[in-house]
């Protein structure tokens, strides 16, 4: 209002406001203890959710890797039989395999190679000449096992080559798939629980903040603020808190995984590393893992915004 002062006001001598007003200072006081507690809670929950999500991602990737490499291979085992020539039996089996439909390549493990395969279990320096070491033929398929005509091959082997058997790893593949699926399902359930806990925490915090700011809300109503305006102020504050907690938790999870990856890499360089790699793949979470973390942070922020908005609206409706 432009008031033409009838006389110069005696109070204000200079006081020109060159100081730019800080625009949009929150109308709801921030930096309260409850706010900080909420950030910590959300950070912890996000951390757990992000680890769960990227863990599930890791298992999904590893199991897909195992399955595709295992499924594209079958092995023929030829056990030495009394009074027969193993070499001849192996050669016959290899010929049969080569002529089967859907086979890409056939590799026969020599006697030496077969023995070497047993070394980790039996130790070196053992003379295996007298032992009937089974011989292996690795058959690479052009596609998945299902597409090759393995039944015919199996039948032919059984009929023509004594001591030969075909293993298509199907049992393994199925078990792996079930196990990986189970792990992923558990991961999703944990994720859902964590998100639900976060939603509850935010709901309680919002309700508490509103109750604590009752006087402020009342004044805002008196000076002509509508519920949408007030709700936006509260939402903005809680969105900020939620994002802060989410980013801290997500960042910590990313850091944790990067550290784990580095640890795994250095483990792989040491003896025994091969087993770790065989189990977990390269333990590289890679971009998809970080993507999962980002998605969790985004989800937490979205849940924060939604829950605080609904809580505020419902609460304001009950205030005059």
């Amino acid at each position: 209002m432009t008031v033409d002062a009838p006389q110069a006001p005696p109070f204000d001598a200079a006081a020109e406001s060159q100081a730019r007003m800080r625009p949009g200072r929150p109308l709801v006081p921030s930096g309260t203890i409850a706010g900080r507690a909420l950030v910590v809670v959300i950070a912890i929950l996000t951390f757990l959710a992000a680890l769960t999500a990227s863990g599930a991602q890791l298992v999904a990737n590893a199991s897909a890797e195992w399955r595709s490499s295992i499924a594209r291979e079958v092995t023929i085992q030829v056990r030495p039989q009394a009074r027969t020539d193993v070499e001849a039996a192996v050669a016959r089996a290899a010929t049969l395999a080569r002529s089967a439909r859907g086979v890409e390549s056939v590799r026969v493990f020599s006697k030496g190679e077969s023995e070497r395969l047993l070394e980790p279990w039996l130790g070196s320096g053992l003379d295996l000449v007298e032992l009937p070491v089974p011989r292996l033929i690795v058959v690479k398929l052009t596609g998945e096992a299902a597409s090759a005509d393995l039944a015919t091959l199996k039948e032919a082997l059984r009929r023509d080559v004594a001591g030969a058997s075909l293993d298509d790893h199907r049992l393994w593949v199925e078990r792996l798939a079930t196990m990986a699926g189970g792990v992923i399902l558990v991961g999703l359930v944990v994720l859902a629980l964590v998100i639900a806990a976060a939603a509850l925490a935010i709901g309680f915090a919002t309700r508490g903040a509103l109750a604590g700011a009752k006087d402020i809300v009342e004044v805002l109503h008196f000076v002509g603020a509508d519920d949408i305006f007030i709700a936006r102020e509260f939402q903005l504050r809680f969105l900020r808190l939620g994002l802060k907690g989410g980013l801290i938790g997500g960042g910590a999870a990313a850091l944790f995984l990067a550290l784990a990856g580095w640890l795994a890499a250095s483990l792989r360089a040491s003896p025994g590393g091969n087993e770790v790699e065989a189990l977990f793949g390269t333990f590289q979470i890679g971009w998809s893992g970080y993507g999962a973390i980002g998605a969790v942070v985004a989800l937490v922020a979205a849940v924060t915004a939604l829950v605080s908005r609904e809580t505020v609206r419902r609460q304001l409706r009950s205030m005059a």
């Binding site: 200072r25 109503h221 002509g224």
Partner: protein
Amino acid sequence: MVRFENVGLRYGMGPEVLKDISFEIEPRSFQFLTGPSGAGKTTLLRLILLALRPTRGLVTVFGQDTSRIDKGELTALRRRMGIVFQDFRLLDHLTTYENVALPLRVQGKDEASYRAEVVDLLKFVGLGERMHVLPPVLSGGEKQRAAIARALITRPDLLLADEPTGNVDPSLARRLLRLFVELHHFGTAVVIATHDLALMDQIGARRLVLGDRQLHIDD
């Protein structure tokens, strides 16, 4: 503009604070609301600004029956009123400037459009040098002036001021009264609740006198 018809009010199960009150406030009018402490001045103002609902009778504000009013309409009515609370009701975490600008800000106005006006008004009420401090460090009189500035900034159609000069010296009280009179000349209906006889004697305005739960009008 404001119309009370046989209004009665009690707080909870307590005794009736106001009983059978009937009066009208005309647009562009100027009146004092007076009476001893505890007579119900604040209560009556709270009825006008719809912070309280009457237990009996009819309250009409800006031509609207307040017994059936929705939240949107309530907000619209409040935007046409300026209110100076007896206990100021400034927001302690906002500066004086931000407190005074609050009624404009909650209407979603751009700060650039009102900054100069707010600064001018703050200077006029003598808070030019105190505009960037928080209310807790203001003196009682300074808080009062900030509260008045907040009520005036939107140039409301109706100004309700509850003891607006209770904390200032007589010369400042006169200056603030002039401010209200000036606002009145701009077209605002003004209701000033006070028991300061010296203040009321300065201008011959209508007096609504509360006493013994009843209202007497001295025109």
